[in-house]
């Protein structure tokens, strides 16, 4: 009998974590679930991170209100063991009166925002740390209403008042404050930024986000899975297809169904096209923030051409309506793919001249170099994902490290940079663009024929489903649980930007001047919509 890598690792994990009660997972044997007492949580997490040969990646932390079922709140901490498909969930039961647990961010800093969000939405307290409001602004009656609890009525009217945000105030002579937003000068999403500066030098920087918080995770409760898919597509515009694919994967992982190969291949092509359009708009934004309109415009033009190709393929510029649970809602003609291939080939030459323009310009390089530096340790602590992480020397790309869509059938080149500045983030994007331009024709060449949709089997209630995608901005995770009426019980979205926003704050603080702040921001180019939800 041949033992796979997964079998060996899961046996190893079972022996490492043998002190904790494991819960049998009938659906997915590669998803290990452990029930952990809140007192021994730190030990369990440290065991997972201690081993040298097991590379653990923190994915997400989800709270659920299961008081009507078993009188408990539950916390789910989900980890991925890299290079295998093994997911580890630590499940913690919390009492319904005064739910609390010892703070995790003390030893795992990446969960800080998760703890604050769970405190806002569920009133679950992380003991031992400060929990300032995150998702709900200061004028929200904190401590009175907890929107994600099941007994909170969705359309409850909450009064709105103007309560100032709290930031570090100028506290020394010569210091002053610069306030930006929430309505910005350019066409971008809302967020309030506050700089504390001395002269031009930035000393303190903080951002107040979550202006576009609409309560999507609350809206989706008690909806059917099809209705949920539409909301998943509308979580974010720029990575609309990544979100809808992650949502589909989450449900498909509950049903454990095999998606037809053609659908997987087409999904991969679409995901890569979305990466192209995202990276090109990022490049355009970086150049325009660096005052280099001469390269910003061709990049924007290039992106528009990609958008028009996407429209030809999917009949929607953001792939909406293409995905369906179990595959795709419609097939795409092979002729359309040939057209795409021909066009991408022509665009590659055009891209070469754009690259020369960006990398060959001393004025732009001068702006980008050493701007917004984020070193390896900082990036690792924050739990940075995507191109930003790869620019700081973290070798992680879930297209290689986790098995989904059709990526395991191809060999891709992955790039890392170690400088961690805005230039490194620009270079990573350029290299990935080349890789994607080469990659899409390869998928088209091997595109199998056949059906594109699989019927869904009976879906088990109260089983966690997880969808993981490496979107253009980094890994995004959808966590989903259905109730026994086949409606959505809880759906949680952790987008790439959610992890990286703390990176922007850190990177802006370090040795930068105020005019560089937009450049640092654009070198990450994060969404607000899928952070705020």
């Amino acid at each position: 009998m041949n033992l796979t890598n997964e079998d060996l690792t899961s046996a190893r994990l079972m022996s490492l974590l043998k002190d904790y009660r494991s819960e049998a997972n009938t659906i997915n044997p590669n998803h290990l679930i452990f029930l952990i007492e809140k007192e021994s949580l730190q030990n369990a997490i440290e065991t997972l991170y201690k081993e040298n040969d097991i590379k653990t990646l923190f994915l997400t932390m989800v709270a659920t209100d299961e008081r009507q079922l078993n009188g408990k709140y539950k916390l789910h901490l989900i980890f991925l063991i890299l290079n295998t498909d093994i997911l580890v969930t630590f499940k913690i039961n919390l009492d319904q009166t005064k739910p609390s647990y010892p703070a995790i961010s003390k030893f795992l800093p990446a969960v800080e925002w998760f703890e604050r969000e769970i405190h806002d939405m569920f009133g679950i307290v992380a003991e031992g740390i400060d929990l300032p409001p995150l998702v709900l602004h200061r004028d929200f009656p904190h401590g009175k209403y907890f929107p994600m609890r099941k007994d909170f009525e969705i359309n409850k009217e909450v009064t709105i008042s103007e309560v100032p945000h709290q930031f570090t105030q100028p506290h020394a002579e010569g210091m002053h404050q610069v306030a930006v937003g929430p309505i910005h000068a350019g066409i971008i999403e809302p967020g309030h930024l506050r700089f504390c500066t001395i002269g031009e030098q930035i000393l303190e920087f903080d951002a107040q986000l979550f202006y576009t918080h609409k309560g999507i995770e609350k809206i989706v409760e008690d909806k059917t899975i099809e209705e949920g898919l539409v909301l998943a597509e509308h979580t974010c515009g720029m990575c609309s297809y990544s979100h809808s694919t992650a949502y589909c994967q989450a449900i498909e992982s509950i049903g454990q169904i095999n998606i037809p190969k053609r659908a997987l291949y087409i999904r991969t092509i679409c995901l890569e096209l979305e990466r192209l359009s995202n990276h090109l708009s990022d490049l355009s934004a970086i150049c325009s923030a660096g005052g280099f309109a001469i390269a910003s415009m061709p990049a924007a033009k290039f992106r528009e051409k990609i958008m028009q190709l996407i429209f030809k393929l999917a009949e929607h510029r953001f792939f909406r309506g293409l995905n369906a649970i179990g595959g795709l809602s419609k097939d795409i003609n092979d002729g359309d793919f040939e057209f795409l291939k021909k066009n991408l080939h022509a665009l590659k030459k055009e891209f070469h001249s754009l690259e020369e323009m960006i990398i060959g310009s001393d004025t732009l390089l001068d702006r980008l170099e050493t701007t917004g530096e984020l070193n390896f340790t900082q990036a690792k602590n924050i739990g940075l994902v995507g191109p930003a992480a790869r620019a700081s020397g973290i070798d992680i790309d879930l297209r290689r490290d986790f098995r989904y869509a059709a990526y395991q059938d191809f060999i891709l080149q992955f790039h890392i940079e170690t400088e961690g500045d805005a230039l490194a983030r620009t270079k990573i994007r350029i290299k990935e663009l080349y890789e994607t331009l080469n990659f899409i024709p390869k998928i088209i060449d091997q595109l199998p024929s056949g059906r594109v949709k699989e019927e869904m089997p009976e879906l088990l209630p109260f089983q966690p489903g997880i969808g993981i995608i490496e979107s253009a901005k980094g890994s995004l995770i959808h966590w989903l649980m259905l109730d026994n009426k086949k409606k959505i019980f809880r759906w949680h979205v952790r987008s790439a930007s959610y992890m990286n926003w703390r990176g922007v704050v850190q990177a802006t603080k370090g040795n930068n001047i105020v005019p560089d702040a937009p450049l640092v921001n654009k070198s990450f180019n994060l969404c607000y919509a899928c952070v705020d939800r």
Partner: protein, 181 residues
């Protein structure tokens, strides 16, 4: 781009006779116009596209697809500045306010402040389904619904999101409205 010509039509029959074949033509290059009439046509098209407008964009909770499409208008393929349309950083300089997304609780105050900061006459455009009718987002504790519950809307550009061409059509309509106001 031919749709722009529709906004150029006037009460002058002579001009309309020149425009009609161009609007209906499948390929504009096939349309032949007498050289002597070009000047008349040119004058009328210029008049219809006259009056520059400045836009202040406001995201009140959209899914950032509308922003991406609005931003695409500035790229060299659409290049709205050639029609005298441009984006401005301050609402005090703006003639037009484009609003996208259903109004969220956290942005209601900022939205009102932006609107009040604009000089009259002002035009409000609801951009995308979220702003026009609330789209798929239900009213929640944090989401207050469509924009015309809060601001007087002059033009609705529905779409999920509207394409750059659809937005451009709406913006050209603005010029017509501003001429009347």
């Amino acid at each position: 781009m031919l749709n722009i010509l529709k906004y150029c039509s006037t009460k002058n029959k002579e001009v309309n006779d020149l425009l009609l074949p161009m609007i209906n033509a499948s390929n504009i290059e096939d349309v032949k116009i007498e050289l002597s009439k070009i000047e008349l046509l040119d004058k009328n098209v210029r008049k219809a596209l006259s009056r520059s407008i400045l836009i202040r964009h406001l995201d009140t909770g959209s899914c950032n697809a509308e922003e991406a499409e609005l931003l695409a208008l500035s790229n060299p393929i659409y290049d709205v500045t050639r029609f005298g349309i441009d984006f401005t950083a301050s609402p005090r300089h703006a003639d037009v306010l484009t609003v996208s997304g259903p109004v969220t609780r956290h942005l209601k105050i900022a939205m009102e402040k932006t609107y009040n900061a604009m000089p009259s006459p002002k035009i409000v455009i609801a951009l995308g389904d979220g702003a026009c009718n609330g789209s798929i987002y239900e009213n929640t504790y944090a989401c207050l619904g469509k924009i015309d519950n809060f601001l007087p809307v002059n033009i609705y550009i529905p779409g999920n999101p509207p394409t750059p061409i659809q937005i451009l059509k709406g913006l050209l309509l603005c010029k017509y409205l501003l001429n009347k106001k």
